[in-house]
């Protein structure tokens, strides 16, 4: 924590860019998102269709299913994001090399957010194709804003709790338990906003914007607290 105080803002941002670029490069090489997470999310969407077995119901619940699938995929991606760091002790190395934790947080969060944006985009396309959700022009503005704000919130919480669970035994089982209750507001807010964007159940687009406020508050609160709290969580 004290090493952050010494380092100026530029080193934090520089570190963040370095870490984000590294994470994205790792993804580019390993293609875990492309070859594993995206297919997983799609198969979940298809399975929902099997389980609900009715076009009318599917259209009604499409926004919820999009974000539910996004949440499950987030869990996998957070695990992966920190597995990369802990596989060969790189996280310890980063801390012992005095790399500012705030930079680590922002960098990993940005990389995660970039991947989540790709994922959510694909899920929304899947909802339009598979569940016959309809999107108007005014709705798509709301939808893009919702998607960005919600993924920002998810990435912040995911990075924070992922860092908390990193290196612990049973990380894969602990992470969902910690993460899912916290992201409930994102699920509720993003689902309602997406309903408005799709016009599901006759909800108008204008009704979606208040939910965006909730998503924004969530994203800001957890981005800030994550940037502050990751240092103490990683230090020993």
């Amino acid at each position: 924590m004290t090493s952050q105080q010494r380092l100026t803002g530029t080193t934090v941002i520089g570190t963040a860019r370095l870490i984000a670029a590294k994470d994205l490069r790792v993804e580019l090489r390993s293609r875990v998102l492309l070859n594993q997470v995206l297919p997983f999310a799609l198969i979940v969407m298809v399975m929902f269709a099997f389980a609900l077995d009715s076009d009318a119901v599917l259209e009604r619940v499409a926004p919820g299913l999009v974000w539910l699938a996004a949440l499950f995929s987030t869990l996998i991606m957070v695990s992966r994001s920190f597995a990369v760091e802990t596989a060969d002790g790189a996280l310890d190395q980063l801390r012992s090399a005095g790399v500012p934790a705030m930079g680590i947080f922002i960098g990993k969060m940005m990389a995660l957010m970039a991947q989540l944006v790709v994922l959510v985009t694909l899920l929304i396309i899947a909802a339009i194709v598979l569940y016959r959700a309809e999107l108007s022009w005014s709705g798509s503005v709301l939808l893009v804003t919702t998607g960005l704000t919600a993924t920002c919130g998810l990435a912040a919480v995911g990075t924070l709790y992922g860092g908390l669970a990193a290196g612990a035994k049973g990380r894969e089982t602990l992470l969902p338990l910690l993460l899912l209750p916290v992201v409930a507001p994102v699920l509720i807010g993003a689902t309602r906003a997406t309903e408005s964007a799709f016009g599901t159940r006759g909800v108008s687009t204008s009704q979606g914007w208040p939910w965006l406020g909730l998503l924004a508050v969530f994203a800001v609160l957890f981005s800030v607290s994550g940037a502050v709290a990751l240092g103490p969580l990683l230090d020993d």
Binding site: T15, R29, D92, G98, D236
Partner: protein
């Protein structure tokens, strides 16, 4: 208990590590119970001694990762009592793991660690070639390297991020005979190039040949082994 700095370095230069009666505590246990030790620039010091004697804690103290509870300590001119965090980015510590990203190539890994201190591209190339990793190896993903090559990549990372003091905890562990020879060559070269190396190792006959002197750690205290 005191150790005397060897004569081959001018005494006017401030030592890299200067500990005086240093005590470090793990929980409530005094892992280091009064260590007095001086290491000069360019030395390769071997720490020997049984498990749990405090070798790793001594390395971690020098890396600024453990608080100095009592006594005085300076590493690279930084006071460990008041600002041990400042020493972290100038020291490189490698323990059981190398801290590498398996999916990235050797150069990409070295570049990543170099960039944490803003190293230039030429510095990174130099670090890679100095560890004998240039050519074909440089563009292989680390996951496809041998254990010895990985360790050398980690050391190249230390070069790239301009670590002035290298703290190596059992660096020979898990390497085959060829890997060990390579490692020794690399460490000798690093020391000639100006790095200071402290190695904790069980393998006395191997590390003994490498080291300029040997310090034995027993029960949280050190003593010089003469004639090494």
């Amino acid at each position: 208990m005191s150790t005397v700095a060897h004569g081959h370095n001018p005494a006017s230069i401030e030592p890299v590590v200067d500990l005086c009666d240093a005590v470090a505590v793990l929980g409530s246990f005094p892992a280091l119970a009064g260590v007095t030790m001086t290491v000069q620039r360019g030395e390769i010091v071997l720490l020997s001694g049984p498990n749990g004697a405090g070798k790793t804690t001594l390395l971690r103290l020098c890396a600024g990762l453990v608080a100095l509870e009592r006594g005085q300590g300076r590493v690279l001119g930084v006071d460990l009592t008041s600002d041990r965090e400042l020493v972290r980015h100038r020291v490189g510590m490698i323990g059981h793991s190398n801290g590498l990203y398996g999916d990235l190539t050797v150069t990409e890994n070295v570049r990543f660690w170099g960039r944490t201190v803003g190293a230039s591209e030429s510095e990174i190339d130099l670090a890679v070639s100095r560890m004998g990793l240039d050519g074909r190896l440089a563009h292989l993903p680390v996951s496809r390297l041998s254990a010895g090559q990985r360790r050398r990549t980690a050391l190249a990372g230390l070069v790239a991020r301009r670590a002035e003091l290298w703290l190596l905890d059992e660096p020979h562990a898990g390497l085959d005979a060829a890997g060990r020879d390579e490692l020794d060559d690399v460490l000798k070269m690093a020391a000639t190039a100006g790095a200071t190396v402290i190695v904790a190792s069980h393998e006395l006959e191997r590390a003994g040949k490498l080291a300029t002197r040997q310090v034995e750690v027993i029960a949280g205290q050190v003593r010089e082994i003469a004639g090494s």
